[in-house]
């Protein structure tokens, strides 16, 4: 047996800008075992809900994650709205989908950049983020914030986008797609990228199902799992077909995300086309009483919001199960038997968002 070395990976590691710690047990450069430890940035949100009113909690929910913040806010609002039996105006729901899908594009572009960086492809990294910058500009133009918008609200959304602006945005989306296309080609076809990703970090369909993988990680292993199929909010009027790959390796996970960007851009065009006129919020009176599990699709997969109100301004319980949390057991499975050089690529392939995970 070769000599075993333990290489610490994280919580401070340059390819992984977030604090998860993995002890990699190596034989030469082969990983034989992985021991994860999480909990470096626990923030105690579950208690916070007893100190902030349920309307202020939206801002807290948005800050669970710095990348997919808007969808977190929506997930929370949706939970409260269901508890309070509120009817949300159609326009507000379409706007939520618009910002949500734009968040997905932004998140996937960010991931593509980071993943390219993890395999040492710096120029691809920079160019992905250059395109992402355009998406952020749209955010800033429409909500005022580049990452955290404060646009979601219990009962609807807080700001509207005028029809003129939406038409302009349709052009901007086309431009983004045009700039994104050559990069997508690189991700899908480049030789060195394939060398680093294909047949690396394999996760079988059975394992994906049993270990509870969600989002692109599950879809890349052949599970057609997408919460948007639940047709919450405006997805009622917008048909979404989950993008599924069957290879189950890092490359398949990349392909899923690359294609999802196209899908999201397309969805946004449909939103612009279909969005009805009207109110953007309903008046909220009273306090939530009862409980609800709200499930929405994040860029990283399914996020579950559990809210329980007791008829006062403050919630009783508030719990979030984020996608990365669900994807850590599959990750450990993928890591066994890979070489050290593959570790960053595999860890990044689940698109880990540790800040989400630890709440």
């Amino acid at each position: 047996m070769a000599k075993r070395t333990i290489v610490p990976f994280g919580p401070q590691h340059p390819v992984l800008p977030e604090p998860i710690h993995l002890d990699l047990v190596l034989e030469d450069e082969m990983v034989v075992d992985v021991l994860p430890s999480v909990g470096f940035i626990h923030r105690g949100l579950e208690l916070l809900c007893q100190k902030k009113s349920f309307q202020d909690m939206v801002f807290v929910a948005e800050r669970i994650c710095g990348i997919c913040s808007f969808i977190h806010g929506v997930g929370y609002c949706q939970g409260i709205e269901k508890v309070m039996n509120l009817d949300i105006p159609k326009r507000a729901q379409f706007l939520r989908v618009f910002w949500g899908e734009l968040s997905r594009v932004h998140s996937h572009l960010l991931w593509l950049g980071l993943a390219a960086d993890a395999i040492g492809f710096e120029s691809l990294f920079m160019h992905s983020w250059r395109v992402r910058e355009k998406v952020l500009a749209i955010f800033e133009e429409t909500t005022g914030g580049r990452v955290i918008f404060g646009a979601a609200k219990v009962g609807g959304v807080r700001i509207d986008i005028s029809q003129d602006k939406l038409d302009q945005l349709a052009i901007a989306l086309d431009e983004i797609q045009k700039e994104y296309e050559p990069l997508a080609k690189v991700f899908l076809e480049d030789y060195t990228v394939q060398h680093r990703w294909s047949e690396v970090g394999y996760l079988s369909k059975e394992d994906a199902h049993q270990l509870g993988a969600v989002g692109p990680t599950a879809r890349a292993s052949g599970l057609p799992q997408d919460m948007r199929k639940l047709r919450y909010g405006a997805y009622e009027d917008l048909e979404v077909e989950p993008i599924v790959e069957t290879a189950g390796d890092c490359y398949a996970r990349c392909v899923v995300r690359v294609k999802e960007i196209y899908q999201s851009l397309d969805l946004m065009r449909r939103v612009i086309h279909k969005i009805p006129a009207g109110e953007i919020e309903t008046k909220v009176t009273g306090f939530p009483q009862g409980e609800y599990f709200s499930r929405v699709e994040q860029p990283r997969g399914e996020v579950v919001y559990y809210v329980k109100g007791n008829g006062t301004k403050f919630l009783d319980r508030f719990r979030v199960r984020t996608p990365t949390f669900a994807n850590i057991p599959p990750l450990l499975q993928m890591l066994k038997g890979c070489t050290l050089a593959d570790v960053p690529a595999i860890v990044l392939s689940i698109d880990p968002c540790i800040s989400c995970t630890e709440r």
Partner: protein
């Protein structure tokens, strides 16, 4: 006497030239990535700043080994400019490299150790081709003496296109650029943090940078030797080759070591050895 002066001039000028080239490299790389990039003099600022920092050495040998490495690398460049034996220069460079690996091994950090392992692999991949290049130059010009090679009337390149190609291929390894920046890269953005140089801090890291400058000039000089009879063509060729390296760096991901080793040897065998065989038969 003249040789001594040339050697010293070479040693003194190298940091200036290599630093500038490094700075221009960074600007071009940045431009290729759609960025602005640092000022051209940034490498000098970096090194100066590193020297002003505290030197965190992990044990008695660490810093000394880096200094040994510097001495041998500088000697290699000095001998090259002094016009000594080409083979001797190459081996001096290898010895300098080995000292660097020893320095990394002495630290006991897993990143550094694995980086050192990979550096050895890289040397294994690159050195055969560099030696073949030296042999090729000998076969083309009939001498290992750099003075004679440089003052010769015909360039080695016309006999050695294959060797030249092979040399460019392994140059990526020597310059620590993607796809072959496995042991340590210019950015601390890889699975081994900064691999070989992870545990180097402050002045040690500055010395490491300076060693890399000398290495860069050494390999560039090697390229120049192929065009020695026409200095202008030589310099232009060196610039083009360096630009090519930047381009290759920017259009490739970092590959794994097995591919590096295999491809470097295949190229060495086919282009390097094949070229030499042909030369041997035809001459």
């Amino acid at each position: 006497m003249n040789a001594w002066i040339w050697g010293i001039v070479g040693i003194l000028l190298t940091p200036v030239v290599a630093g500038l080239v490094g700075g221009i490299d960074r600007v071009i790389t940045a431009k290729m990535q759609g960025r602005m990039g640092p000022p051209v003099l940034q490498p000098f600022y970096d090194v100066m700043k590193l020297f002003s920092k505290q030197n965190l050495v992990l044990n008695r040998f660490h810093h000394d080994l880096v200094i040994c490495s510097l001495i041998f690398t500088v000697a290699a460049v000095g001998l090259l400019f002094a016009g000594e034996n080409l083979l001797m220069c190459i081996f001096a460079l290898v010895v300098g490299n080995v000292f660097l690996v020893l320095a990394a091994y002495s630290t006991n950090s897993p990143y550094s150790m694995l980086g050192a392992d990979r550096e050895l692999l890289q040397m294994l991949a690159a050195e055969p081709m560099i030696l073949l290049a030296a042999v090729g130059i000998y076969m083309a010009t009939g001498t290992f003496d750099i003075n004679l090679i440089a003052s010769g009337t015909h360039s080695a390149i016309q006999y050695l296109p294959g060797v030249f190609f092979g040399l460019i291929y392994v140059l990526t390894i020597k310059l620590r650029k993607s796809p072959f920046d496995l042991s340590t890269s210019h950015h601390a953005h890889q699975e081994l943090v900064k691999g070989l140089s992870t545990e180097f801090a402050g002045p040690s890291l500055a010395l490491f940078e300076i060693i890399h400058w000398y290495e860069t000039v050494f390999v560039m000089a090697l390229i120049y030797l192929f065009f020695a009879s026409r200095p202008i063509v030589g310099i232009v060729a060196v610039l083009i080759v360096y630009f090519l390296e930047i381009l290759i760096d920017n259009i490739n991901a970092r590959v794994k070591w097995d591919l590096m080793l295999a491809s470097a040897w295949v190229i060495t065998l086919i282009f390097g050895l094949g070229n030499l065989m042909l030369l041997f038969i035809l001459k």
